[in-house]
Symmetry: C3
Subunit: 143 residues, 3 copies
């Protein structure tokens, strides 16, 4: 009983400490969000990374997947990504970056052309569909 | 019993009268729709206002929130909105116009730079996520 | 009992045969996806047709509706569609192509200006809302 009480007090203190560190937190619940990214320009690459960082600050326990297709695959390519360190950092924290295999075939992009943190999915559109069927929210990212 | 019958007849008459006034009505049910707006040009400002008006004509009891971020915040600014009267009119009828606080910080936009009917939300992406979790439909607005 | 067993074996054989023919198949479940298309350029017309074909290869039993509005209505017009044969082929396989009546009124497009396979809906935004309420996933198509 004492242990439970101590745990509750500790949780409260830790919770408060966290809230003080991060005034931007909206809630600590588990959320699921799949984002679509299809922009080819550098500016929008910076935008999507900023958007994911903003979401994580507001919803620290959100599970986020960024599904890239079309020109948006540049974000994931070793030679074309302008934000590879930001992306790798987010991937190390659990954000999923997915490349559309249909786009890869059409643009002749190989798995080894992608940043190592990237996963390949059969189809961006299908991935966005399946995630929503699993209850994930969906938002178009970028500009 | 008479009262119930009178009510049914009255509902039918009123319903028909309304339908005659508004042939565009699809149904009178309660719907919930959150729209994303991120376009910076004047033409698209007119488009989003027209889209909201069209939805309201078809679904008069729809609850609608327009979440603006990035260049889309221009729609909500006193100095940049080309549709401030249309927006204020819709807001007076219950349409919610929300400004992304992350965009406001990045673009150095203050609350007093926004039309008075506008609400500020911590993050556009988070708002779009939370609304979908509450069961709202989501559509990208503008062009 | 024998018949049931034969049916199970047959289903397995046919299922495998199909999987061998189509290595791109993700699953054979019934899915529902409503796509928004609003792009006016020829390149994006080819993109949306390719996207629908890709989805159908991965999810052969998906029910798909492509809702077109704004400049996206060009995809559906006899004089402006660059992909009329691809579209008609998909429509014959059950894909629904819907034209926004609000756009038609604004752009003065008549029903007879549209490819014969096209359906008219009162409002693109309303259609996208209603489909999501029915449990369909929603994705922005095109580029």
């Amino acid at each position: 009983m004492k242990k439970i009480f101590a745990f509750i007090v500790l949780s409260y203190v830790v919770g408060n400490a966290f809230a003080q560190q991060s005034p931007d937190v909206v809630d600590m619940k588990k959320h699921h969000l799949v984002m679509q990214f299809m922009d080819g320009d550098s500016l929008s690459q910076a935008t999507i990374i900023a958007q994911v960082n903003n979401i994580r600050r507001a919803l620290p326990n959100a599970e986020i997947e960024v599904v890239c297709h079309g020109p948006g695959l540049d974000l994931l390519m070793t030679t074309k990504s302008k934000t590879s360190s930001g992306l790798t950092d987010l991937a190390s924290k659990g954000v999923i970056f997915s490349a559309c295999n249909n786009t890869m075939k059409r643009r002749n992009i190989k798995k080894e052309d992608l940043l190592s943190a990237v996963r390949v999915v059969p189809s961006a559109m299908v991935q966005l569909t399946l995630r929503q069927e699993e209850g994930w929210a969906y938002v178009k990212g970028g500009h």
